[in-house]
């Protein structure tokens, strides 16, 4: 196979970054940042997942088709979440004439 062979140094660096990320996410979880806690936790998780996908799973070195397949998985997840939440987040928005809104 004519695939790019990733130097092991990259794997160790990514591993290190993932460990740091894990430590960071645990540490941040104990700080009270209000709503930002969730955002930071998810941000770190997305970063870690991206590292795994790009380096451990070689997507960085893969064909455009692989990128499309990976992206489509997450886009479809986005469709499910976004359209599903349009319902959950907008319930009760309809002003009912009998119920005054202030």
């Amino acid at each position: 196979m004519s695939e790019h062979i990733v130097p092991t140094r990259v794997y160790y660096l990514v591993f290190l970054a993932l460990m740091v990320g894990t430590a960071a996410t645990v540490w941040v979880a104990y700080l009270d940042l209000g709503f930002a806690n969730t955002a930071v936790a998810m941000g770190i998780a997305v970063t870690k997942a991206t590292l795994v996908i790009l380096y451990f799973m070689h997507v960085k070195y893969s064909s455009r088709l692989t990128w499309v397949v990976v992206a489509s998985g997450f886009i479809w997840l986005g469709i499910l979440f976004v359209l599903g939440l349009t319902d959950y987040l907008s319930r009760g928005w309809l002003p009912q004439p009998g119920v005054p809104r202030i």
Binding site: G92, P97, G98, V99
Partner: protein
Amino acid sequence: MIENLPLFPAQASGLAGQVDALYFFLIAVSAFFSLLIALLVIVFAIRYRRRAPDDVGAGITGSLQLELLWTIVPFGITMVMFVWGAWVYFALNRPPQAAMEIYVVGKQWMWKVQHPDGQREINELHVPVGRPVKLLMGTEDVIHSFFIPAFRTKFDVVPGKLTTLWFEATKPGRYHLFCAEYCGTKHSAMTGWIEVMEPAAFQAWLSGGAVEGSLASRGERLFQDLACHTCHMPDSQGRGPVLDGLFGKRVQLQDGRTVTADENYLRESIVLPQAKIVAGYQPLMPTFQGLISEEGLLQLIAYIKTLGPKAPGTSEAPEGSPAGGRTADPSTGSGSSRAQSRDERERAGVGPRERK
């Protein structure tokens, strides 16, 4: 045979005409395009039929203009349908302010109806002609759907919440009521009748028959029986939030959100009190999940809706009219207003057992 072959349902509500107009518009569009396609297929199939075994068709690959035409034209037509349909949908979803309220509970396999004045019906609903009626609906078990074809409206009743449906009957008569969401063995027997009456006849019907007390008064009795009043006091001394004048107001929650105290908020606060804690109060209230029937919940809500804002200086005797300032409250319909006037007369009536 023909009298047994109806082709169009009775049209007996204010919005039925609008729904039908939409329906005819879509039929016209559909008929036009179906016939157009059918005609073209038939004409082409005959006109260009194969005449010799090794004939081939013309070397035509396509036309951008035509593709654009039959993309844009359907798009335009469907947008008309969308806007018109959404318009009617909003009308179907927004009961007028003056609507009288009737409470409906679906359970396998019947519809239980409670009028504000206390009349109860099963699988029948009596309503006056020419007056908007808002149904506040819940279910005891699975999902059902309250469907009145003659009014062109239906809405599901869903466990865990209250839903509403409204209509204004325009023609006296007897119309089908169906359960439209499959709900188990006797789904097709969960049917009934909507009896639309002239206002005078409806008044006569309302005053006839034994009545156990208005809905709100039964709710009040339940309120006492469940000892709600020990925490929810009419002044701010209680451990729970003041309920007087609550309905329809914005409520500030502990977590910073603000919600409107509508029927669903009241229902949820009884069943899952921890879901939304009012700012400044402790999460002390126990859940009443399983302790109150769906009908009882509706009675409690009907009662809480009658609790107007406490007028300053009014003494609040335990049995006193909770309706002190309720005429000033724009949030309650006239239906419950009359319930209020009957309230005291019916107070002596024995409330039904609501505990399971």
